[in-house]
């Protein structure tokens, strides 16, 4: 298997499927049906292929694996360089898993322009997987930005009432951030003479004052993508207006691209700047966790509530990454994966009731437990996983992040942990208002429970949320060597001092006082 260009295969196979759908001819109904099947099979085969990556991946090493390298623009020393390590590999799996589920979830709910819809999703998959595999700046940037094209169309064509506004906001916000990153990448290229990510991680030595500027440019791109407070405002709009599957991919994968960027670029390549800006990141993360949780409490729109909860959950991730401790970073990555499964599933849950009643108003529902018991169960599992109940995947990530934060400062740990309480408040409130109570409306009473296709979609997600909650080792095993390597290099770059002490010096009194 090692001779196969496995990563390229997984990356570009969806494009082949998209091409087949594009060439489909016939009357509209036939084309729609064949588009659905081609998209499903393509994404399933892609997922199966990506399983080879999971099983063939050698644990316990921080090396990049499945490496492919082809000269691309030789005059500029730019290559098509692909490879995964313990940090990026799980995200490849997450992406390939969510796409077939999205195709299934949109089977009946998308009725117009099915052909274009499926093409957009397959192209999106190529860009997402490619982004996590790319080991060259230029390739990374192309995949990172390329995602915008299909997502813009998905929100804009198949979205809700204010879809145009949301699509533009999403596109322009993200673009504004990423173009600054492009300049930072070019600057890096002129300092080091290479666009090769592993070389830059291990060999680049960048003067401190340059690091600070570059870090800010990268931050502009990644903070928007995460999204961090205060540049998160595109997310609720995009989530609310996007079709269900669009929200699933948005929450499941696209939000992870920003945090992945921090792990791949900011921390390893610009360690001094990262240390310098750590207090800023902590502040923004804590504000995100507390403020957006409070905002989520007063939402009347289900999707908006979950969108705000996403911002809060990503606050854990950014805080975890910048603790630069083994627990913090592993927790952040685990939280990302868990959030990818859980929030994706929550959006699917909203999609289920939206398909039946065509409203996302929380008050339009109530009492679903009596006529949709299976749905109530599924919703409960994911709601509790989102809250971070022990035994679900959400708990592991949040717990590790809080552990990491406590090593940095008690205050940070305390504030981050407060998010768990607030999270419980808004999620339980949502659950009570939608599921419990007495059915008062006729149209709600007539709603049917989950169909077999919906059950098929939820089954793997429930399994993952529970298995990784009870036994997280398989995932942590995959990433631990890479994370350890990342942290060692980071501390080495900061002058061989253990990170917490140095960080404590840099932190303002309120943060570091507890050390």
């Amino acid at each position: 298997m090692s001779t196969w260009p496995l990563l390229s295969l997984v990356t570009f196979l969806p494009l082949v499927g998209a091409f087949f759908i594009l060439t489909a001819r016939g009357d509209e109904e036939t084309v729609a049906t064949s588009a659905r099947y081609v998209a499903l099979w393509t994404s399933l085969i892609t997922f199966l292929l990506s399983l080879f990556i999971w099983f063939g991946f050698e644990r316990g090493t921080a090396e990049f694996q499945f490496v492919e390298r082809v000269e691309w623009i030789p005059s500029l020393n730019i290559a098509y360089h692909m490879g995964v390590d313990g940090i990026s590999m799980p995200f490849v799996l997450l992406s390939t898993l969510l796409v077939p589920l999205c195709v299934l979830a949109s089977w009946d709910s998308v009725k117009t322009r099915v052909k274009e819809y499926m093409i957009a999703f397959l192209v999106l998959e190529t860009f997402m997987v490619g982004m996590f595999c790319a080991l060259d700046f230029v390739a990374f940037y192309i995949f990172f930005e390329g995602v915008l094209i299909p997502m813009f169309l998905i929100i804009g064509v198949w979205g809700g009432v204010r879809r145009v506004y949301a699509a533009f906001k999403f596109f322009l916000y993200t673009l504004a951030g990423s173009v600054l990153m492009l300049l930072a990448m070019l600057t890096l290229y002129f300092i080091t003479g290479t666009t090769d990510i592993p070389t830059l991680i291990y060999e680049a030595e960048i003067p401190r004052n340059v690091q600070l500027w570059l870090w800010l440019a990268f931050f502009a791109a990644f903070a928007v993508k995460v999204p961090m407070w205060p540049v998160h405002t595109w997310l609720p709009d995009a989530h609310v207006e996007a079709p269900t599957a669009g929200s699933v991919i948005l929450a499941g994968v696209l939000l992870k691209m920003g945090a992945y960027g921090f792990l791949r670029f900011s921390v390893p390549m610009l360690p001094e700047a990262s240390a310098y800006f750590t207090p800023l990141v902590f502040t923004l993360s804590v504000v995100a966790i507390i403020y957006t949780s409070l905002v989520a409490l007063v939402q009347n729109d289900m999707k908006k509530l979950i969108a705000y909860s996403s911002v809060a959950h990503m606050g854990y991730v950014t805080a975890g990454i910048f603790t630069a401790t083994q627990q913090g970073v592993e927790g952040a990555i685990f939280q990302m994966l868990s959030h990818g499964v859980v929030s994706a599933a929550l959006f699917l849950c909203v999609g289920v009731v939206y398909d039946r009643l065509h409203t996302r108003e929380i008050d339009a529902y109530g009492g679903l437990a009596s006529n949709m018991p299976r749905y109530a169960l599924v919703f409960m599992v994911f709601m509790l996983a989102s809250v971070g109940l022990p035994g679900t995947s959400g708990f592991v990530g949040e717990f590790l992040v809080i552990m990491g934060s406590f090593q940095i400062s008690t205050w940070l740990g305390l504030l981050v942990a407060s998010g768990m309480v607030l999270g419980a408040a808004y999620m339980l409130l949502l659950y009570r208002r939608v599921i419990f109570g007495v059915i008062t409306r006729e149209n709600v009473r007539r709603m049917l429970d989950l169909g077999w296709r919906e059950k098929t979609v939820f089954a793997p997600l429930i399994l993952l949320a529970l298995i990784f909650g009870i036994y997280p080792m398989p995932v942590l095993d995959v990433m631990s060597a890479s994370v350890e390597n990342l942290i060692n290099n980071y501390q080495l770059a900061l002058g061989e001092q253990p990170a917490p002490n140095l960080l404590a010096q840099l932190l303002p009194q309120s943060w570091g006082g507890a050390l």
Binding site: G146, V157, R163, A167, L172, L180, L182
Partner: protein
Amino acid sequence: MSIGVDIVAALPEVFLALSAIVLLMLGAFMRELSARSVATLAVGAIGLATVLLYFGGGRGELAFNGLFVNDAFTEFMKLLILIGSGLTMIMSLRSIDQERMARFEYAVLLLFATLGMLMMVSANNLISLYMGLELQSLALYVVAALRRESLRSSEAGLKYFVLGSLASGMLLYGLSMVYGFTGTTSFEALGQIFANQEGLPSTGLIVGLVFIAAGLAFKISAVPFHMWTPDVYEGAPTAVTAFLAAAPKVAAMALLVRVLMGPFIDLVDQWQQIVVFISLASMILGSVAAIAQRNMKRLMAYSSIGHVGFALVGLAAGNEAGIRGVAVYMAIYLFMTVGSFAIILAMRVNGRAVEGVEDLAGLSKTNPMLALAMAILMFSMAGIPPLAGFFAKFYVFMAAIEAGLHTLAVIGVLASVVAAFYYLRIIKVMYFDEAADSFDQPVGRELTSVLWISTVVITVFVLIPGPIVEGATAAAESFFIAAR
């Protein structure tokens, strides 16, 4: 040097001149020959000239007593000009009949304009520079006003002529200032004088340089000399606008690069400020002003102003990477523009041309392939990877970073975000809005093939950047060989 060698050195130009004259005779004396056949023959002539240019290696570097130069840069730019002229002429084959401007002079004038452009690129003397520029401009003034019965077309032609003459006057004034203060019109001699002088150049020279830059900035429609562009683009027949937007921009940009990087390279400190300013102003104005436009042709005008601003970022850098960036940018700009105008030409409802952005509404339902091509072109113009437009910006900003022009680069990329808004709006109209009247089908073999060519070039550039990038690299090197 014998005249034979000179003619061989300028073989494509000589061939184009002869074919233009022959076609003029044919058109004048063979009344039964339709304008379409003359135009088809003209396309053939451009094709042959391209072949002569491409396979006519081993030509002398200098010809006609140093008035004319051949190097990798001229070759690359001439290739672009011929491709641009050829494609836009193919596109117009149908439209000259539809728009009641089927006169044989159309093709002849465009051939002369193309010849003028080739001369501009190869100019190695202030005199040959002016000659090429005027040959191009005069032919285009007439073409812009070709629809005599149309008020808008006449107005566009007149506006173009008056403002163009003003710019030519400024240019000529600048040229005479430079001649007056140096005593030569030869680029080599000028370069030597500037290289050998000590201290600051005299004020007269600087004034001359500024006038030359202003005159050339008019031709590339850079801010603050852009005012003619939207009116002329809107008023001229669409086929002519397509022509104006593509090849002449490349030629004028090549000329600007040749002048500033050739004889005036040692005054880089003086002209760099000018170029940075017009680049910034063009990027910002092109991005912001286009937002309010409702007419596709006006929108393309502002878009081209913005693109020129981006290309000038490369020139402002003034290094080898910058010239490569300009060359790559102009190549990709050419294909994007040609493709976009092919779609604008296809915008006809019930036999009548429409130009509003809103007329594209729901194109993704009425004509999915056309909409897909337009979406690709628009995303490319906005600079979204993996399309070619991204690489165009990538190369110029790379040069700007290398030259340390960080502020210019930051403002430039932010302007590109603003510009993305109006490109997205076109996609929004096509994909998100309800369908309007569908366009007349079929759009014709000529348009379809041009559209295919440009869209494929834009799409596969990411996979096969070689031909354009290698050519541009060689072109850029030709300015720096002497310095090594």
